[in-house]
């Protein structure tokens, strides 16, 4: 009996506390202008972040394209345009491959018996010939 009375009293107290609890409302400060200012600030910040992210990804794309394209545009003038290919070079059959020039070997000059070509002389000959041809 006493147990039931205690239980009833508890239930009544719980009911009273619940009613009191539910009668509480959020103060105006929760949803005042400050909240909407904070929300707007957050929103504009996120819009700015999105725009910055888009600009950054666009820049990355442009730089990537440039990086891919640049080596090709550099290679071409270096190999084919800036190196003037001597014409009429007496050669022993120097081979030209795209992008690579193989220097001709020492010209075949008639050798006579007893001629000695020291290695240094050979290089000199080679250089002088090249200079001549460029003109």
């Amino acid at each position: 009996m006493a147990m039931n009375q205690g239980s009833d009293a508890l239930e009544q107290a719980l009911e009273s506390v619940s009613n009191d609890w539910r009668s509480t409302h959020a103060p105006a400060a929760v949803a005042d202008d400050q909240l909407w200012l904070r929300l707007n600030a957050r929103r504009s910040r996120s819009v700015t972040t999105t725009r910055l992210a888009m600009a950054a990804s666009f820049l990355v794309a442009v730089v990537s394209v440039l990086l891919i394209a640049l080596p090709e545009t550099k290679t071409e003038p270096l190999t084919l345009r800036s190196v003037s290919i001597p014409t009429g070079v007496p050669s022993s059959g120097g081979l030209r491959t795209p992008g690579r020039l193989i220097a001709p070997t020492i010209p075949n000059t008639p050798r006579r018996a007893g001629d000695v070509f020291a290695p240094d002389e050979t290089r000199e000959n080679d250089d002088s010939m090249e200079t001549d041809d460029v003109v």
Partner: protein, 174 residues
């Protein structure tokens, strides 16, 4: 259809489509309940108001990515729990909100008020999960399934926690 006639999910969808009035409606709809629950977890009313406002500020990003795996209120409530934990960690408090002196108060205080104050103290002294279920199921009057969704547990767990809480309160009440 005006926004106040839409349910929470429809409001979140409207917000995700860019309707700012939908967020306002969600704020109006949930601010009282969230504030009351925040008051239960925090030390004072101004902190509870700050926590409630912080939930809505966080909702701007959170609800944008909301995937409807749960009810929007569950998202609000779980965010509120996180905010309250953060605030309690930052500023630990010895007493919870409105810990009213259980001793007899001024003459104007009625017996009923004393009983309420005593009971609030007993509830505030419950283990966290039992206290949570009392707040949601008894004080807020949410049904078992809604309480379970908010607490992210099963309905059976809610019932068990509630039974444990009642047993404990009864033992201390007498």
């Amino acid at each position: 259809m005006s926004t106040d006639q839409l349910d929470d999910r429809a409001l979140v969808r409207a917000f995700q489509r860019g309707d700012q009035l939908a967020l306002q409606q969600l704020v109006i709809r949930h601010q009282d309940r969230l504030f009351r629950l925040a008051r239960g977890w925090l030390a004072d009313e101004s902190m509870a108001a700050d926590a409630t406002q912080e939930v809505f500020v966080r909702s701007l990003n959170g609800l944008t990515r909301f995937r409807f795996g749960a009810e929007p209120f569950t998202w609000f409530y779980q965010t509120l729990r996180n905010v309250c934990r953060e605030l309690n960690r930052a500023k630990p408090v010895a007493e919870s909100f409105e810990q009213i002196d259980p001793a007899p108060g001024p003459e104007s205080r009625t017996i009923a008020t004393d009983h309420m104050a005593r009971l609030r103290n007993l509830v505030d002294a419950l283990p966290e999960r039992q206290r949570e279920v009392v707040y949601l199921r008894i004080f807020e009057g949410m049904d078992v399934s809604a309480t379970a969704r908010a607490m992210r547990c099963r309905a059976g767990t809610v019932k068990a926690l509630l039974s444990q809480a009642r047993t404990r309160l009864k033992a201390q009440w007498q």
